[in-house]
Symmetry: C2
Subunit: 452 residues, 2 copies
């Protein structure tokens, strides 16, 4: 294995270079090199030492294209565009009353349960089975059983659905802190349960937990060994370093578990702009970049630090979520959405930089579900979307109109049920090619780490 | 080359079988076989003897998912889901006034020009350059120069944008027959031009032309060698067999060029149903299948016949378009749209059956652009799309709601600008993996046929 990695490593730069050249856009007919050998080189079996999963919440193909057009132009390429192997996967959930039947539009909790455990569940559930409430073992739990360190990084609260599904089990995603347990009485620590998502994440001893949601951890635990103390105090007692700003995060060093809580709620947005509006819509506008306060680390900074903290001979599993792509799509805010997609892409670039030095890493980029935003023609008085519209002036210097129309103005725009893109490189990456289901991603990652 | 093909052929059934097993959905955690070797086997360089391009007009990932959910269930797989290599490509057009700038939402004419010639153009143009009106050589013309037979099959008029871009050059897609030349005066035969799309397709001596649009060919030619005669008469004089129903098509045999015109306009739809409507929308409904009159051949029947007519030692290039996926999406007709997608998939299955016997075929499935339809949650009085909605009862036995909201009710729904799926198998197929542009497809096909 070591020899194979080394042999691959010797060729890896050539492959990367070939792909980079080959993927240059062909705006005019100028030939297009044969990438057959580069793709063949990218197909690798065997074990990975580490798995890095990048999850763009709500980042369907439309959200990807919007961000590309705006930020680098239609012929440009984002970092996550450059992956050598690609496919699509289905994201549907199942019905609570009859888990044999699909629910075509998933939420992030059911979707994360799918890829984190290999089992589909109903919307709102966190790694528990639809109908039965059975505990579903997660890839983080399997990794820990095998002595492999784990990490989870997000721009949402670290107790939000996606990171929650990796290291908690509860029947309702809203049960994020000890004071939020109304929908999950049986899971209260005082009732002998596993406790809130925040408590469970700490109890799971996930080595690196970075994101927002500090207020969940400032709530008092209601029972068990740490009853009466806050979740932060419980974390400190269990060996965590707690950091709450970018400088403190930068100062952390490998050797201790790290809980980084950089905002009371979701982390601050990267970009601002006018939300979409009924015809004729907002804009034409350019987005206001650089809105995140420097005291909060970027997703790329958190990713680089997590990789530094986790890197070691035992390998690791790391999940990195761009959470607010989804959240800004819900409120029809194209600049917010694109800014978060671009920030997510910068985090992916950090992962690719790590993988360039560590070709034994399986790196995956995907989404948990698609979302509302669509690229449409410029609106006219006769022909225009019936929902919310915004026109942006892109990197190409031309207008791009975005339509949000899965709900009436003033209400949250909805997730959509279309299949989404998945891309990967490294050992086992070929298993994401074609049409798969998100539950298969669990097996691809578990196989790569030798967990099944 | 013959040896390699033969060696591959010996393994090809194993690969197909492995992929078929591997792509079975994993609704519950039951393991998921390692497909690494199967994907590696699917990566093949070298020459193809034939290229079959399946083009689902307007068949974005959302349209694919809708058809899958409805027809085979969310965990089922359509024929075009089973391709071993997959990617996405960008579809944008360029502006007529400044071809260096992208137009993010393409029409079928500009898109077809892109993949048929390798050069982007502006919306409405047929294989002519934006701004300059320069003639752009098409893959059909290149194939003919190399003695390779060509064919084009569609459910639209054979003079519609997609087939037109393969074998005609004109500044406006509406110039379909000799009597339709208002927007293209310089292209009139009487003005010394190339003539209408119908005239040019016949003059190009495309070996197999099957679809609708008979009325274009019944128009009288206005100049040149066949002035005063209809395009059909011109075709007969140039050696074409003309057939106008399924029985006559079935009776054709290789050796003569075939022009099949099975409807005066677009070919009849496969399925019917209630169009989408404002909240609460139409349905819940099941679609009415089997609406096409038997006198018109199905797209799969046309595909099988075209393959029979074209198959031979020189190889061939064949394009097969599922045109009315787009046309029914424009009018918010979910049953029509899904029925056409399913019929397109049956044509793809016919292509895969051919490729199973001829592994030296490069088979590609893609779309020219994405479209309006989105899968959303069941509407409620408070939360529902502001456009048109319809709820279908799927193969899974549960409701699926479709939203159409890129234009106000009563107006044509719009194309969207998101990247779309491309899938392939056979020699050179690996060149569609990753993120490419539709212009690169031209080069992949041309390289496979030894045309560049």
């Amino acid at each position: 294995m070591a020899e194979r990695s080394s042999a691959w490593s010797a060729r890896s730069w050539l492959v990367v270079l070939t792909l980079a050249v080959a993927m240059a856009p062909a705006g005019v007919r100028g030939g297009s090199p044969d990438r057959t050998e580069a793709v063949r080189e990218a197909v690798r079996g065997g074990r990975a030492r580490s798995v890095i999963l990048f999850l763009g919440d709500g980042m369907g193909d439309s959200e990807i294209t919007l961000a590309r057009n705006y930020h680098v132009g239609a012929a440009g390429r984002l970092a996550f565009d450059t992956f050598p192997l690609t496919g699509t996967y289905t994201t549907y959930a199942v019905h609570e009353a009859d888990p044999s039947r699909p629910d075509y539009v998933t939420d992030s909790a059911a979707s994360a349960t799918g890829w984190a455990t290999g089992v589909k569940t109903s919307n709102g559930r966190i790694s528990t089975a639809a109908g039965t409430d059975r505990i579903l073992k997660t890839i983080v739990e399997l990794a820990r059983e095998h002595g492999i360190p784990t990490g989870s990084v997000t721009t949402a609260e670290v107790t939000d659905a996606t990171p929650a599904a990796l290291a908690a089990h509860v029947n309702d995603r809203n049960c994020q802190g000890p004071a939020d347990m109304g929908p999950c009485p049986g899971y209260r620590k005082s009732a002998g349960g596993l406790g809130s998502i925040a408590e469970q994440e700490v109890d799971h001893q996930v080595e690196v937990l970075l994101g927002g949601g500090r207020q969940r951890f400032e709530q008092a635990i209601e029972g068990g060994a740490f009853g009466g103390r806050t979740v932060i105090e419980s974390a400190a007692a269990q060996g965590y370093i707690i950091v709450t700003d970018a400088a403190a995060l930068a100062a952390t060093r490998p050797g201790r578990r790290v809980l980084g809580l950089f905002n009371a709620g979701d982390m601050s947005l990267e970009w601002g702009g006018e939300p979409a509006a009924p015809y004729p819509g907002s804009g034409p506008q350019r987005c206001r970049e650089g809105q995140r306060p420097a005291v909060e680390p970027s997703l790329a900074e958190m990713t680089r630090k997590a990789l530094q903290l986790l890197d070691g001979p035992r390998g690791f599993f790391l999940q990195v979520e761009g959470a607010s792509i989804d959240k800004r799509d819900h409120v029809a805010d194209p600049c917010g959405q694109i800014g978060e997609t671009v920030a997510f892409d910068a985090a992916v670039a950090a992962g690719l930089a790590y993988a360039a030095r560590h070709p034994d890493a399986l790196v995956i980029v995907t989404a948990d579900h698609a979302h509302t935003s669509q690229i449409v023609s410029p609106p006219t008085e006769i022909d225009h979307g019936p929902g919310l519209l915004s026109t942006l002036i892109t990197k190409d210097g031309v207008p791009m109109t975005v339509s949000y129309a899965t709900n009436v103005p003033g209400r949250w725009q909805q997730h959509t049920g279309t299949q989404v893109r998945i891309a990967a490189q490294g050992p086992q990456a070929a298993n994401i090619v074609g049409v798969t289901d998100q539950t298969e991603l669990f097996h691809t990652m578990a196989r790569a780490l030798g967990l099944e």
